[in-house]
């Protein structure tokens, strides 16, 4: 299936951290999220291939994770909040049924006074 693009996932994390404020993180992976019931025009069933797990960690500590099923739209988009103690690196990971793993990372620094 050629609909799996080579485009990497997109992540939006603010560049600077304001102490006492939660950080809004927006993520989007480019993936068709095939349910396994769709048929092509030749009558061939397209094999099931979904992103089943998403995880977000900050300096190795877990922030947020999700188990996704067929009910999640193609190109899964998610927003959530993180409450982090200081500067560091967010690591994002998407795992698909066909074994593909997509990763992304974003750095956040303390706001300059």
């Amino acid at each position: 299936m050629s609909s799996i693009t080579t485009k990497g996932p997109e992540v939006k994390v603010p560049r600077y951290l304001t102490p006492g404020e939660d950080v809004l993180i927006r993520t989007k992976a480019w993936h068709p999220m095939e349910t396994g019931w769709r048929k092509t025009h030749d009558g061939q069933t397209v094999e099931r291939n979904r992103i089943h797990t998403f995880t977000c960690a900050f300096n190795g500590q877990e922030v947020f994770s999700a188990d996704l099923h067929s009910g999640v739209s193609a190109n899964p988009y998610m927003t959530f909040y993180a409450r982090v103690p200081g500067p560091g690196v967010f690591e994002f990971k998407w795992i698909a049924d066909d074994g593909a793993v997509y990763t992304s990372a974003a750095r956040i620094d303390l706001a300059k006074p």
């Binding site: 349910t35 500590q61 994770s65 999700a66 009910g71 927003t79 909040y81």
Partner: protein, 161 residues
């Protein structure tokens, strides 16, 4: 080629009707079985009980924002907020989203780790037909809250889960 008696070849009107009826019934049964039919609300409730471990579900604390009417079921934006300070003592552990009449009622489960901020997420889901969405929030204290919302869909999610 073997010779056939006339009585073997010609069926009576009654036999034809009976045979035809049986064939039609068989065909309809065979046709029904492999289709990914929409699930029933009971399936979603059973799944929810499996996910939550049979704890009594309480009302309140969850607010769901979803368009009440949508033209296109493949991308329905949904935002969920659970009232919680997200301190160590009082925090949300997991949010489950289920769609009663999707082929697979389970939509997603979101787990909040120790560094999670507000118990607030937004995402896009597939909604097969007009139906009720269930959102359950598991708290660290073991309480589970349940909220329901209705989504009306003009065109479904296209064989979606």
């Amino acid at each position: 080629m073997t010779h056939l008696e006339l009585s073997e070849v010609l069926l009576s009107r009654r036999q034809v009707l009976a045979g035809g009826g049986a064939a039609a019934l068989l065909a309809s049964l065979a046709g029904l079985a492999p289709l990914p039919a929409h699930a029933e609300p009971a399936d979603a409730e059973a799944k929810l009980a499996e996910l939550t471990g049979g704890v009594t579900l309480q009302k309140g604390r969850i607010s769901i924002e979803v368009p009440p009417y949508t033209e296109y079921g493949k991308q329905v934006r949904i935002s969920i907020e659970v009232e919680s300070p997200m301190t160590d003592a009082d925090r949300v552990k997991t949010i489950h989203v289920l769609a009663e009449r999707n082929t697979v009622p389970e939509v997603a489960s979101y787990h909040f780790g120790p560094l999670a901020g507000q118990a607030r997420i937004s995402t896009r889901i597939r909604v097969a037909t007009t139906q009720i969405l269930l959102v359950a929030a598991e708290m660290a204290s073991g309480e589970i809250y349940l909220a329901k919302t209705r989504v009306k869909v003009a065109r479904g999610g296209g064989g979606c889960g």
